[in-house]
Symmetry: C2
Subunit: 140 residues, 2 copies
DNA sequence: CTGGATCCTTTCAGATACTG
DNA sequence: CAGTATCTGAAAGGATCCAG
């Protein structure tokens, strides 16, 4: 059951660079940033610090509740920093930390993949769905 | 509301390579592979074709139901191919397509980030939680 | 403006049982 | 072996109201 994880561990201790797709490691990062909003916010904040309401307007479809919760968890993990200006009315800015920025890079790679392949996926789906439709109709 | 998306569009039309973190594009890829199992399976299958039951045993914690559903959606998007051998007992193998393999790369980058930074995140969380605990106790 | 607290709905995903 | 179908509990997430 853990043969491949074991193998990866050996490889890592030997070469250092080759971790391959360890399911457990992958799961840990997905549990962390695989939710609906974390990567979106990391991405948006990558362009510069933003205020709460600004994020609320910019992130398409997020609710105040989820924005609060997600920002807290990002702050907890040290990916985002919270800057409070004790003014009236209160002002709070959020910015990515250097640590968060290091995550921003692989995220950007994923975004690029998405941008490059949106159309391909749409095409594939149409083909698949059409084939499935024929399977039902066309049982001669 | 769409100022930055607009800006990205301009940049893209100019340079081509610079898409930045477009929230909508990022959302589209997250809706696709941001679920609990897609990336895990893509990762596992990256090592070579595997059978249904094999995946069931190898992916830590997946249920038969979710394995079926996830494989179907990956197949629909053209990321995974289903190979049926009409034997008794039936045998079915799954393999990543070249298209799926192209996704595997940015995913691997993310996994690497996770592997490299697991410990940092744990540390950050401990610090954050401890600070929060002090905030409550220590209100002198 | 920036949230916290509460309620409530929808979706996700596991357990179980059944089929070719 | 490789699934499908149904049922159900858990969890994510939106709406709303309240507070500093």
């Amino acid at each position: 059951m853990s043969h491949q994880t074991e193998a990866d561990r050996v490889l890592r201790s030997l070469g250092g660079a080759c971790i391959e797709h360890d399911p457990d490691v992958l799961r840990s990062v997905l549990d962390r940033v695989g939710d609906k909003w974390s990567l979106i916010l990391i991405g948006l904040l990558g362009k510069g610090p933003m205020r709460f309401t600004e994020l609320l307007r910019t992130a398409p479809g997020i609710s105040r509740r989820m924005l609060t919760l997600t920002l807290r968890s990002l702050e907890r993990d040290g990916l985002v920093k919270r800057l409070i200006y004790p003014e009236i009315p209160p002002r709070v800015e959020y910015e990515v930390t250097p640590f968060g920025r290091s995550l921003s890079e692989p995220v950007l790679a994923l975004t690029r993949w998405a941008a490059d392949n949106q159309e391909t996926i749409r095409t594939n789906r149409r083909a698949f769905d059409e084939a499935a439709g024929l399977d039902i109709d066309d049982l001669d």
